[in-house]
Structures are given as C-alpha cells and as structure tokens.
C-alpha cells in the first residue's frame, strides 16, 4: 500500500480511530491492533510476504529470550551467529540470488563453459532489507547486554512490523523504539499536529518534487545517447533531487504517521544537500542506515582505532556493503566505491569531523556545498544507470561537450510547464529547508498557513496520473 495512494488515505483514519478508541483498554489491545494493521498494510502488496516477516520475527524473538537465559559465552555467540545467518541468509537468498547466479554464469562463459542457469523468478519482498536489519540490531543489542529482551511476543511483533517504518525505514534501533511499545501512549495534540504537518511536507517532496523530476530523468536516462551534455548533467542533478524527494518524503510521512500514534521515530534525513563535505553528507543522508553500519560493522571491525591502513580498509568495507545493500547490481557497488573514494581524503587529512557542530551555514561555504552536491550527483549517475557500462557511457557523453543545448526542457508546452514546476518546487523545498537549517531545527516545521500553502501546491503541482512507486521499494 503506497503512502500516496487512496487506499492508504482510507486505511490511516480507520486505524487511527480504532487505535485511540482502544486507549482505554490495556496496552496489549493497542499493540495487537498495530500488529494486525501492519500485517494488513504489508500484505496489501502480496500476502505471501507475511510468512517471511513472521518467520523472521519468531526466530529473533526466541533467540532474544534464549540469549538472556544462557549466560555462558560460547553458547551465546553461537546463538548470535545463527540469528545473523538466518537474517542475512534470507536477505541474500531473496535479494541477491539472481545476481550471484548471473555473475557466476558470466564468469564461467568468460572461461568458455556454457551453463544454463535455472534462476527461479524470485520476487523481491518489499522492505526486506529494512526489517531484517532491524531485527538484527535487536539480537546484537541483546547479545551485548545493552538491552533486556521483551518477554511479550506481541510487543516484539509490533516493533518489527510497525507499519509506518516497515517498508522503507527509518531502520529503528531496538533501544530507541522497543521501550515505546512497553509504555502506554497518551494523545498529545501538538505532537500529533506536528505529525500532520510532517506528512504534508513529506507528500509535497514525494508527489511534487520527486515525481515531477521523474518526468525528465526517465527520458534522459533511457535515451542518454541522444541528449547534449548539458541535458545529461541536468538529468543527473534532477535525479539527485528525485531520489532525495522520494526517500526523505517517505521517511517524513513515516515519522509523521508514527507521531499520530504517539511514537517518535528517529530523523532519517537532516538536509543532506546543505552539507559542506562528503563526510557531513554521510552524517545527514539516511542516518538510520549509516549509523546501523557504523555500530554493527565499522566499530566491530576496529573502527577508527588502529593504524591508518586499517581505518581505510574499514571505511571501504562499510561503503561497499552499504552500496551493495541498496541493490543486487554492480552499479550500486561502484556507487559505494565512489563515495568511499570521496570520503577517504577527508579521513586521511582528519577533516571529516570539521562541521559536526557548525549548524548554521554561512554564505562563504556556498562553493563547498555546491561542489559536494556535484560530487554526489556524479555518484548518483551510477546509482540510476541500469548497468555500469550505461553509466560510464553517460559520463563520457557528458565530457564530450559538443552541444550544450537544453532544448528538451522547453521543446513543447508540456515540457516547458514541467521545467517551470520543477524549478519552483525545488526552490520552495530548498527555501523551507534553508530556513530550518539556519534555525538549527531537526526537521521542517510548517505553520498552519504554510501547511495550507503546501497542500495547495500539492493539489495543483503534484503528479497524480500514474503514481510512481517509491524508488526505495526495490531495496
């Protein structure tokens, strides 16, 4: 069930009403309602996915309990590894099986042997990477005794399948979200109103910014050879905004919906395009995922202790794995590698923490921001291209510079209209975000007047004809 679809618009009020009607009853009633709602929400795509998430929940719940019971180390380590294997195994099988088979075959044909691969047509269950990582974080925290495991299965099931953040994150840490399920939620209207404003803002970013950009991005990327270099560059830039609008829009809606039910989820994006260097970009982009990798991959590997080469190795591993996490395709791995290349010089010259506490931006830093944005856009080309070769050709076409015409953006009334809408919507988005950054706010806070203004923009500038899926659904 898409967030920007009519079924969700009907589903949400019903669950909201039921949820707060049950406020009088004991906590279990509310939690079980949430589980049912989440399973309905998740089953809307394909009910067969439900079995998968149920399996993963049961396994991790029992491991959590067992970890708590046994105190002797060797056993606990074995339990931990079973949980990791089960989760990563599920992920590997559903998401990357096809990828490994194809590459295995190409590798062999490379050596001349013909093998007929019997790749089963595995449909990728939506949001699998998100909730597997979430349950994994639970078992690891329990193993490290940072967290008491829950005895109540329903509570754990709601934690895993909490529908706002089930399908595309933010990947919640058990330490942060699980306790909220144990305590009774009281309705706070200001908190809920801030959730509503966040939903409106998320919808704006998704329906107006992302979907409008998609109109040109798909054109340019699908026929990238027949466009001038200026158009190709603009295509990449627009994809940058498309993916940001799409993904941060989704997270905002998720956080907003969670607030309606009294839960507070962590911030997933804090204005990444205003970062002044790549290190800061990775502290602001998809915070839940990057912190997950930092806590459960980077630090176990030794993190930033040890000598320089060890640090570089850890950084490379984290970037490659997070790239690979995004999808079963070489392009994502290369995308991760590029970001690693950009991140390393900062690490080596110890400038990766410079802007940690400098929140407000000064105009002098504008060139830094623009260069960071261009570097990130360069990486996005690989992220969006279908195959690595397509991305490389794309970049080569850009460097040819033989024509700089941007005619596709105004060749007929319709494309001119879309260009105007895109420019206006991006300016509006950046204006609001700039205001929030300068005020050192964690998210864009809309006043009622602004909410109405944004809602009007959504109605008259949004793309409703063929509601495109959230990009992040394929990961």
């Amino acid at each position: 069930m898409l967030f920007n679809s009519i079924d969700f618009a009907v589903f949400l009020p019903i669950v909201f009403a039921l949820y707060w009607l049950l406020a009088k009853y004991p906590l279990r009633a509310q939690n079980s309602l949430l589980v049912i709602a989440s399973y309905v929400f998740y089953g809307w795509w394909d009910w067969r996915f439900l079995s998968l998430i149920l399996f993963s929940t049961i396994v991790d719940y029992s491991i959590g309990l067992a970890l708590n019971k046994t105190s002797e180390d060797k056993k606990r380590k074995r339990l931990l590894w079973t949980s990791i294997v089960v989760n990563i195994g599920l992920l590997m099988f559903f998401k990357y099986f096809g990828f490994f088979v194809d590459n295995f075959v190409t590798a062999f044909t490379f050596f001349g042997a013909e093998i007929q691969p019997n790749n089963l047509n595995i449909i990728l269950p939506v949001g699998i990477s998100f909730y597997t990582f979430q349950t994994l974080s639970y078992t690891i925290d329990v193993y490290k005794r940072k967290l008491e495991p829950t005895q109540d299965f329903i509570q754990f099931a709601t934690f895993v399948s909490f529908f706002p953040q089930l399908v595309a994150g933010p990947i919640e840490r058990a330490k942060h979200l699980l306790p909220q399920f144990e305590v009774k939620r009281h309705f706070d209207s200001n908190f809920a109103m801030s959730g509503v404003y966040l939903i409106i803002w998320g919808l704006f970013k998704k329906v107006v910014v992302a979907d409008n950009c998609a109109f040109f991005v798909n054109q340019i990327f699908n026929g990238s050879s027949s466009y001038s270099s200026a158009e190709l560059v603009l295509g990449a830039v627009l994809f940058g905004f498309q993916i940001y609008g799409d993904f941060s829009g989704y997270s905002d809606i998720a956080i907003g919906v969670a607030r309606l039910f009294g839960f507070s989820l962590m911030v997933n994006f804090s204005f990444p395009y205003f970062s002044r260097n790549i290190a800061e970009f990775w502290r602001r982009w998809h915070i839940s995922l990057s912190t997950w990798f930092r806590d459960y991959v980077y630090i176990p590997l030794g993190g930033s202790r040890g000598n320089k080469s060890k640090q570089i190795r850890n950084v490379l591993i984290v970037f490659l794995v997070s790239g690979f996490w995004h999808g079963a395709n070489w392009t994502y791995i290369i995308w991760g590698a590029i970001h690693a290349m950009l991140f390393l010089p900062l690490l080596i010259f110890k400038r990766n923490r410079t802007y940690v506490d400098q929140y407000t931006i000064t105009y002098k830093q504008l060139p830094k921001i623009v260069t960071t944005f261009l570097l990130v856009t360069l990486a996005w080309i690989f992220f969006r291209a279908d195959t690595a070769t397509h991305a490389i050709n794309y970049i080569i076409d850009i460097c040819r510079f033989e024509s700089l015409s941007v005619v596709t953006f105004y060749k007929n009334g319709k494309s001119l209209l879309f260009s105007v809408i895109i420019v206006v919507s991006i300016l509006v988005m950046l204006a609001f975000e700039f205001k929030s950054v300068q005020k050192h706010q964690k998210e864009v806070i809309l006043s009622p007047y602004m909410a109405i203004f944004i809602a009007i923009l959504i109605t008259f500038m949004g793309v409703f004809k063929n509601p495109s899926d959230f990009i992040y659904f394929q990961f």
Binding site: W20, M193, L417, F418, I452, T459
Partner: protein, 299 residues
C-alpha cells in the same frame, strides 16, 4: 483529542474551500477561453448555421481542411475534431454543438476502419476537455457511464472541481492560467479548427497493395450519433481517411459513407501510418470536396 480534531477539520475545510475556489476559477476562465475545442466552439464561433461539421480524432483533425473545402464548394464548414478521442467523444461533441443552439446540414464522422467497429468502454485521454461544462447534464452523464477511475474523478468534479483540476493540472489548471492572460489563444488549431502535420522527409514510393479491413459499423456510438443526427435533421456521412496500408471494405449498410481509405497511393503524402501531412491534406480535402459535391446536389 478534541482540540486535535478541531484543528484538523479547520485546516481541512479551509484547504478544501481554497482548492475549490481556485478550481472553479480555473474552470470559469477556461469556459471563457478558446484554448480547447469545447470552449472555442462557444467563444470564437459566431455563426450559428453550418453546412457541414467534421467530427473525428487526430485523423479528422489533420485530414480535411475545411478552408479548402469551403472555397471549392463555397459553403460554410467547421472542424470539431479532437486528437486522442474516439466515437464516444464525437457523440459528446455533437451534443455540445447542438446545446450551443448551432445547426448544420451535414455531419462528417471521421474514423479509421477499426474505429467504427471496436468499442472499449473506457474514458478517452482527452475527454477532460469538457470538464469546464460539468454544469451541463449531458457532460456529467457522459462521464458517469465509464467505470475507470479517471471517469469517476471527472464525474465527481461537478461538486468537487479540485478533483478533476488537480488530476489534470498540467492540462487544465495551467492552460486556464494562460487563458486568463490570452483568452483568444487556441491550442494548435486555426480559427476553423483545422491542424496539420509538417512534411517530414519521408521516402517517396508508390503504395501498391492495401490490406483489406471489413467494416460493419458495430460500434454502438455510430448508431447513437445517427439517431441524434436524425432528431436534428442532420445528414450523417461516415468518412474513411486515407491510410498508408489498410483499405476499408464496407458491405452495404444503412449509413452513407465516403471511403477514401486507399485514395492516396504515395508515402510522400503521409506523416505516419494513419495521418497525412500538409500536402496529403490538400489532396484529400480536394478529393473529399469532389465527392461531397455529389451529395450536396442530389438533395
């Protein structure tokens, strides 16, 4: 909780009211513009009586040039075709034409051979161009009959216009803003409703054989258009425009028809398989004028 509900309803009501106001405004300005054929007919066509009216999709729009036909036969014609539509929209356009109190002696129904037979009960892509006349019964009834969501959105726009105007914002909202400044601007058609495709550098070779396609006029809308024409004593003529590869074969039927599907035998006249280009249009208009003259004389 009560405060939250009050705030939410206040926000929602003001938003709905504002959106409704803006969309009614945009429909109002569209009604007073001539951007689309439906309001062009109301605002920029002073004459009330015509000798013939052309109803068709993109083929009707680009095959017959009423100016040529009018000069040859010294009669008065109007081209009301709209691209990307089907026979159901032509029926609606005829209703709209009559509702404006205008009269015509002949109605030229242009469609490809398959168009007369196949009928899919779905809304056409450009049927939204009648949305500014939702206050008229025949328009809402038209939208009501189709099951798909787009038709439902257009139907409910009678009371909540922002549904239609926001769904088709690129096609309705922005043209209305533009027609606020330039009400007389037309969307790609001249003051008689004609449009033509440019002459691309197509190959110049003879078309020798055509694939035969039989036509039984099984599309129910042909009969409905026929009854509507009879009620207003209009003479219905079905016209088969030139086609690059298909030839329409019509067994005897109760509809008058002019079958020019295979008259143009050179690819140089065609813009693409079913549309003629500027030169092709000139030729087919002259051909049509000749055959149409015989109809005119014997009644």
């Amino acid at each position: 909780m009560k405060l939250f509900l009050k705030k939410i309803s206040a926000l929602f009501i003001v938003f709905v009211a504002l959106a409704m106001l803006m969309s009614f405004g945009s429909l109002y300005f569209l009604r007073h513009s001539s951007f689309y054929k439906s309001s062009f007919l109301v605002n920029q066509v002073p004459q009330d009586n015509f000798d013939y009216v052309i109803l068709g999709a993109s083929d009707g729009l680009t095959t017959l040039n009423t100016k040529v036909i009018d000069s040859v036969l010294s009669i008065e014609g109007l081209n009301l075709s709209m691209d990307d539509t089907s026979l159901s929209s032509h029926y609606l356009m005829l209703q709209h034409f009559l509702a404006e109190g205008k009269q015509t002696k002949y109605c030229i129904l242009v469609s490809s051979a398959s168009g007369f037979d196949t009928y899919t009960n779905t809304l056409n892509n450009n049927d939204y161009r009648f949305l500014m006349y939702t206050n008229r019964a025949y328009v809402t009834e038209y939208y009501k009959q189709f099951p798909d969501t787009r038709a439902k959105i257009l139907y409910y726009s009678k009371w909540m216009p922002q549904l239609g105007v926001s769904y088709y914002n690129a096609e309705l909202f922005y043209p209305s803003l533009m027609s606020l400044l330039k009400p007389e601007k037309r969307n790609h058609f001249d003051d008689k409703g004609n449009f033509t495709y440019p002459v691309l550098n197509k190959t110049n070779q003879e078309i020798t054989e055509f694939k035969a396609v039989s036509v039984e006029f099984s599309n129910p809308y042909v009969a409905r258009i026929m009854t509507l024409c009879n009620e207003n004593n209009i003479e219905l003529i079905c016209y088969f425009p030139p086609h690059e590869s298909k030839k329409a074969i019509i067994k005897s039927s109760e509809y008058h028809f002019i079958n020019h599907s295979s008259t143009l035998t050179n690819t140089a006249y065609f813009y693409d398989e079913i549309h003629v280009n500027h030169v092709g249009r000139q030729l087919s208009s002259l051909n049509f004028a000749e055959t149409f003259r015989t109809y005119k004389t014997n009644d």
